[in-house]
Structure formats: C-alpha cells, structure tokens
C-alpha cells in the first residue's frame, strides 16, 4: 500500500502536474458546476436503440477536468475496484493530451470505453471523491471523463496496441469471453503467453453482448476492444463449450498448461409460482438474448420474440431495468417494473432509474407477483399481485418486504419478464470432480492468486462472486493473470532447479520415465 502511495506522490510531483495545478486556484476549480451528461431525447430514444448518453464534447470534458483539484490524497482511487490513477488521467485531459489520458486508463483498466459506460461510479470513485465527501457537492464526473478519453482514442483511429513481451510459447486458456476472460487474455498476451479464449456462444463478449442493450453499451464498442486483443495475438474460439466439446483434461493433453474459468453466472432463476411457464413469460436472459444477441426485433433476422403491449418486468436490478426499457423500445404501451421493495432499495444504478422514469416506465414498487393466468391459447393475460410494506432491515441491510394480507389485486399483462437473479453456470464444476464449489455453486478460490482447489485452474468474475459488476470481473481477470504468471514461473523454476541437480543423462532419463 505504502509503495502505491509513494508512487502516486511521485507522479503527482512531476513538473507537468505541478504546473497544471498552478494554472487555476482551487477555489475557482471548486466553484465550477458539474456538467450533466448530454442525453438523447427520452421520447425519441424510447423508440429506438440509439445510445442514451451521448458523451461529452471536448469543451465539456475540459471544463469537467478543471474541476478536479488533484488532491494530495486522492480518495477517488480507493473507491475504484482496480485502482485507476484517476487524477492523472483527468489531468491529462485538462492538459489536452487526450490520447495520453487513454493510455493512463489502460494501465489498469482493460476496457475503459465499456467501464466509462456501465460502471456504477456513483457508489465507487465518485462516491469517494473529495467533492462528495468534504464539500457536499456533486463529484467530479469521473465516469463521463473516462468514457470521453476512451472514445476520443477510438474515434480518432489512434487506438494504441500495447507492447507485447517476447513470446514464451506457453499455452493458456480462458473459459468464457465475458469481461473477466477478456481482461485475463489481455494481460497474459502482454506477458508473452499463447492465449486462447473459448466461448460457448457464437459471439465474443459474454454479458456485454447478450445482456447489456445497445442503448447503454453499443456492440461496436465491445468489438473494437476484441479486435485489439486479436491484433495482439489472442485466439478466439467460438462455439466451444469447455466441459462438453472438450474437458479441461482434454485441453491439457493438447498442451494447455493453465486455465482461467470466467464462465459467469448465466443461469436464470424463476420464482416457481403458479402459471410461470405460460407463453409470454420469459427470463430476462432469454428476452435480452433474443433481442441483443439474436437481433429478434430486426425482421431481417430469423429469431422471433413476442413483443407485448402490456409488459411486466419482475425485479429491481440492472437486468430488470434493461429488460423493461427494451420492452418499451419494442412498442409496449405499458412497460411496468414490479419490485417488492421501494425505489430507495433498488439495486439498479441511479442513472438507470432516472433514465427509465424519463422514458415512461411505470414503477410498481412494493408489489410482488403471486400467480399468472392465461387465455385459451396459453398466453399469459393476467397476473395476481400482492402489496408489500417494509419491515426491519435484513442481512443485506435493506428493509425486508412484508406481504400485506388481503391486498391482492389483478392487472392485465401479455408479456412478463422474470428478472429475479441468476445462479452460477454449473457446467465447469459438473465436469471437474475435484473442483471445490460453495453451496451456492460458485467456485472457491484463493483470495490473492484466484487459484481454485485444482492446481493450474484459476477462476474469477461472476462464477466466483455469484453476480457482480463488469469492473470487478475485469479486476479478477487481471488478478488471475498475475496469479497464473507467478504459478507458471514457479513451476518453470522448479523444473530448472531439478534439472540442475541431475548429474548424468541417466538421471534425466530416470526422471522422465517416472
């Protein structure tokens, strides 16, 4: 920790930083207003897939960058799960060196254009910012600035391809191509390894592709990042499900030395209430996959989707929010969000809640579904709801919802999207007997190296955390890469020291036959 502080201090004392700080008084800086992210018109965007947040202009980014006072003890960094050197990248923007700024981001964050869009900054870096903590003012818009720098680099065709150490020829694999797998691959290829990413689906990107909709994270943005990894030499194999197409043991025989499991938490939960399997009731994963991955709403594509007029989405997280906003875009007259607690307890990001409200989403808070009914064709047409009230806080610290007796009522619906959480994908654990798994099905790993109970098999992201965030998944991918590198180096060292002990060729042959 001290070493990091030391390093940050040294960076902060560099001439350019000192000079920049001197250009404007702190008072002046803190007097500047935070700029809101420019957004598309709610009544236009709720009928199309255009991105809601439009990004800052150069002038706006410069203005916002001036607000950052370049604190001696930058608390924002402590709030960042991967410890981005936040003041440094912001000051690079203030200096007008946008490409340099993007480079700073990439030192610690493999996918800044993605994180700038989907990270919950309001509970991370921006929550920890000096403005929030000490001044009681809106924080520096760190997320918007991150997105600005990353977009600037991409839009100017100047994306830097990081340097790669000389190839060492050691084959390693990532299982899954979500953010954890991509971050892992990026770090390992830089260290000289021969990296292959295996993905079960026909597209690379995991939730970034099949889950998060275009209007929040355009697929192009993810594709640019994947293209960079490809140029760096990462091999991507789609339509390959590890544990089925081939097991980890099979891949070992093909020369892979170590594995990173980033297979995500893909299994949708249902509530197991009567009528849940009627036509028109989907998991959010199915609904979003049909639209985002299979492009069901485009008539040129073969995959169909049922697009209702009266859509109810059950849940209060990002996934529920993405589903209900997608339903609105598919032409729902009523797009309703049904959540059993109040808006304050919703796990979705504040920004998403705000955007949803602007787009005309109806919030039915303190409500929980009890049963579904269907028409003569088996399509859902009605649901029974029960009103709830809030009681004492539960383990999660949120107030527990309590059903109000006798408050049951009915509403008409023709589509229901169940978004009540996901469970870890059991495929890998099922195909590896010795893998230590928790009661919830997540893979148990060593906290520092992220190595699992099976030597040479590392894991991270949602398959370990059971559902978290893009940035935490990416952080895990990088941590596992470091852990794996150490593990392999140690192994190599052991072999070398063994070989050194051999006195004759006979010793070596003896060892080899053992």
């Amino acid at each position: 920790m001290d070493r990091i502080l030391e390093y940050l201090k040294k960076e902060r004392e560099k001439d350019w930083r000192v000079e920049l700080r001197g250009k404007m008084k702190t008072k002046e800086r803190t007097g500047l207003e935070r700029l809101d992210m420019p957004e598309s018109d709610p009544n236009v965007r709720n009928k199309s897939y255009i991105e809601v947040n439009k990004g800052l202009s150069v002038e706006q980014a410069m203005h916002e960058a001036h607000r950052c006072i370049d604190c001696p003890k930058p608390t924002c960094i402590e709030g960042c799960p991967v410890g981005i050197n936040i003041p440094k990248f912001i000051k690079k923007i203030e200096a007008g060196e946008f490409l340099e700024s993007a480079k700073v981001l990439k030192e610690t964050n493999a996918l800044p254009a993605v994180c700038g869009r989907v990270c919950p900054q309001e509970v991370q870096c921006e929550q920890a910012c000096f403005y929030t903590q000490k001044l009681g003012k809106p924080p520096v818009a760190i997320g918007n600035l991150e997105r600005f720098a990353a977009d600037y680099e991409r839009d100017n065709g100047q994306v830097s391809i990081p340097e790669i150490s000389s190839k060492n020829g050691i084959k390693v694999a990532s299982i899954g191509s979500g953010p954890s797998g991509l971050a892992f691959a990026g770090d390992m290829i830089k260290m000289g390894y021969d990296v292959t990413v295996f993905e079960a689906l026909h597209e690379i990107g995991g939730v970034l592709k099949y889950g998060i909709p275009e209007f929040r994270l355009p697929n192009d943005i993810v594709d640019v990042e994947i293209e960079i990894l490809r140029k760096m030499g990462v091999k991507f194999v789609t339509n390959f499900i590890v544990g089925k197409t081939a097991t980890i043991d099979d891949l070992k025989k093909e020369g892979y030395t170590a594995f990173f499991v980033g297979s995500g938490a893909g299994l949708p939960n249902f509530m197991n209430i009567p009528g849940e399997n009627f036509i028109g009731i989907f998991s959010s994963n199915e609904y979003l996959t049909r639209i985002n991955l299979m492009r069901a709403s485009d008539p040129e594509y073969d995959t169909p989707v049922l697009s209702g007029k009266k859509v109810a989405v059950i849940g209060g997280g990002n996934t529920a929010m993405d589903s209900v906003r997608t339903a609105k875009r598919l032409g729902a007259e009523r797009a309703m969000l049904i959540y059993r607690r109040s808006i304050e307890e919703m796990p979705a990001r504040n920004e998403e809640i705000k955007h949803a409200q602007e787009e005309g989403i109806e919030f039915l808070n303190l409500n929980s579904p009890l049963e579904y009914f269907a028409d003569k064709n088996g399509r859902v047409n009605k649901m029974k709801l029960q009103k709830m009230k809030l009681g004492e806080p539960d383990n999660s610290g949120r107030r527990r919802p309590i059903p109000i007796k006798g408050s049951e009522y009915f509403i008409d619906v023709d589509t229901v999207i169940v978004s009540v959480g996901v469970s870890p994908n059991p495929l890998i654990p099922k195909s590896m007997k010795d893998l230590d798994v928790s009661n919830w099905g997540t893979i148990n790993v060593n906290k520092d190296s992220l190595q699992s109970s099976v030597s040479g098999v590392f894991a991270g992201g949602d398959i370990v955390r059971g559902g978290a965030t893009v940035i935490l998944a990416m952080g895990d991918g990088r941590k596992a890469a470091a852990g794996m590198n150490k593990y392999i180096k140690e192994k190599v060292r052991n072999i070398i020291s063994l070989v050194k002990e051999f006195k004759t060729i006979g010793d070596i042959l003896d060892f080899a036959t053992k």
């Binding site: 099949y210 339509n239 089925k244 249902f270 399997n277 036509i279 008539p299």
Partner: protein
C-alpha cells in the same frame, strides 16, 4: 464454420447431412445434440447427433423441413459451410442392460431415436421398435432402425404401409405379448404424451426425449423449460431425456406453440423472397 461433406435425401422433406466437426465427433455420446445456425442472421436450432465418425471427424444429422431455419439448412449443398455448430449438448442417454426395450419413434423423432436404439442394442438388450408416421412417404430410417432392432413394427395413420393405426396401437400389442423392462419414446409431443399414458397404465418405466424450443442450449435462458415432477427443468442441461410419467406434456405442447404465428409469417416471408430470387 463447419463443412458439409455428405448429403442424402430420405424423402422430399427429410435429409441426412454429414458435417465436419472433429471435436464434437470425439466427445459425443448417444442422446447428445448440437445447436446450429445457418447464416449470420440465422436462428439457433437444436438437432440430435445421429451418428459420428471419429476417424473422419464428422457427425451425422437428420433434418426435417419444418420452417425457415430447417429449410435453410436443407438447402445447403455438399461443400457449403454451416455458420455455427455447438455441441455436444445435453446429457447422454443412460444406457445399461435392462432386458427388453420397447422403443417408439414418430415423424422425424425417428432420427434422435436411432443412436439410442443402437446404444441399447450394443449394451445387450432385446430391442423392439415401433415406427409411426402419417403415411408411407413419411416413414424414415426404417432400414437403419432394423439394423439395431430385434423386431420393427411400422404403423401408418392411413394404413398405406405397415399396419394401420397409431403408434400406441402397435405398442400395446407388444406389451400384451411380452414383458417390457423399459420404454423409450421420441417424437412429436402429442405422440409422446399418449405413449406415456399407455405405459403408465402398464407401469412400464419410460424415457421421453423432449424437443422443446431452445435458444442457447447451455442453460442460460430457460426457453426450453418444462415441468417434470412438479419442478421446472431446463431440457438443454437437465435433459433432453426425462421420466415420461413425470413430464407435464400439456404445458410442453402449449409452449411449443409459442411462436406458431410468427413462424408462419417468417415462413411466408421467406418463401416470397425465395420465389423472387
């Protein structure tokens, strides 16, 4: 991208395709299926792996023309490539020596039945198979099924071939004649429902291989869910075979119809485009 190396028409609507897929060929077992996609705008559809050749690195599929996706697939020729093939998916059939097996297959369900019958025969069981179709032209794979069965009975709705009657008529005759240790059924949901009712009456343990609608085939979406023994199960990862007597076939039949209207529209749209081209 997987290359088609052989193609054979069993009838106007039923086609056998042999496809290059070395890794799948090596790891597949009876009961497994693949999900494939034709073209970059195609839909993901499940098809049973009917056979494989590990030396040549190929798998065999048998497809019946149903709607847009199966037609697109059948229209591919030897040398063409299938955009995506993922597998093997699902759980392999639990095969052991139990005695006498009564297998029943209807329509294109005979294709998925073939590897199962083969496996049970090789495990030393006596296998009796009842094949059913609406009419003579729709009876497929009779020769191949005969190879792995001790006895084959063909039933047609209109009596144009074999015996006249439903699959259950043929089965009941056998059940009355000799002791059956296990029944296996693959076919349209409605057929499996009635087979299940019949074997329940005679208390014969029955496996049904379910062909629900699927998207990913990896357990991620729940499109394939069915109720088995009162619990929701995902056919792609928990199945595709289940204890038939526990399956809620009425719910499954309902869910299979979910996209009927859209499928018809897509079909007409496609045929229009095809005619114009």
């Amino acid at each position: 991208m997987n290359k088609i190396v052989d193609k054979e028409y069993f009838s106007d609507n039923v086609v056998k395709l042999v496809i290059e897929a070395p890794a799948i060929a090596k790891s597949r077992k009876a009961g497994h299926f693949v999900i494939l996609r034709v073209g970059s705008k195609g839909e993901r559809i499940p098809l049973t792996i009917v056979g494989s050749d590990t030396e040549k690195g190929t798998i065999t599929l048998i497809v019946q023309k149903m709607g847009v996706s199966s037609i697109k697939l059948v229209n591919l020729e030897v040398g063409d490539y299938i955009t995506d093939v993922l597998g093997p998916l699902g759980n392999a059939t639990h095969v052991e020596k139990v005695g006498t097996i009564l297998a029943s297959g209807g329509g294109v369900g005979v294709a998925p039945l073939l590897p199962i019958v083969d496996a049970f025969k090789k495990a030393g069981n006596k296998v009796i198979t009842v094949l059913a179709a609406r009419t003579k032209e729709l009876v497929i794979l009779e020769e191949q099924i005969r190879e792995f069965s001790d006895e084959v009975i063909v039933m047609t709705d209109d009596g144009s071939y074999g015996k006249k009657g439903l699959v259950t008529n043929g089965m009941e005759e056998i059940i009355k004649r000799e002791k059956i240790d296990l029944a296996v059924t693959v076919g349209p949901a409605i057929m499996m429902k009635f087979v299940s009712l019949l074997t329940k009456k005679y208390k014969i343990h029955t496996l049904a291989s379910l062909n629900t609608i699927m998207v990913d085939g990896t357990g991620m979406c729940g499109a394939c869910r069915v109720t088995v023994g009162g619990k929701t199960k995902f056919v792609c990862v928990d199945g595709p075979e289940f204890d038939a007597h526990q399956v809620d076939f009425d719910e499954m039949l309902n869910r299979l119809g979910a996209y009927k209207k859209l499928e018809e529209q897509a079909y007409n749209h496609y045929i229009d485009k095809y005619r114009k081209a």
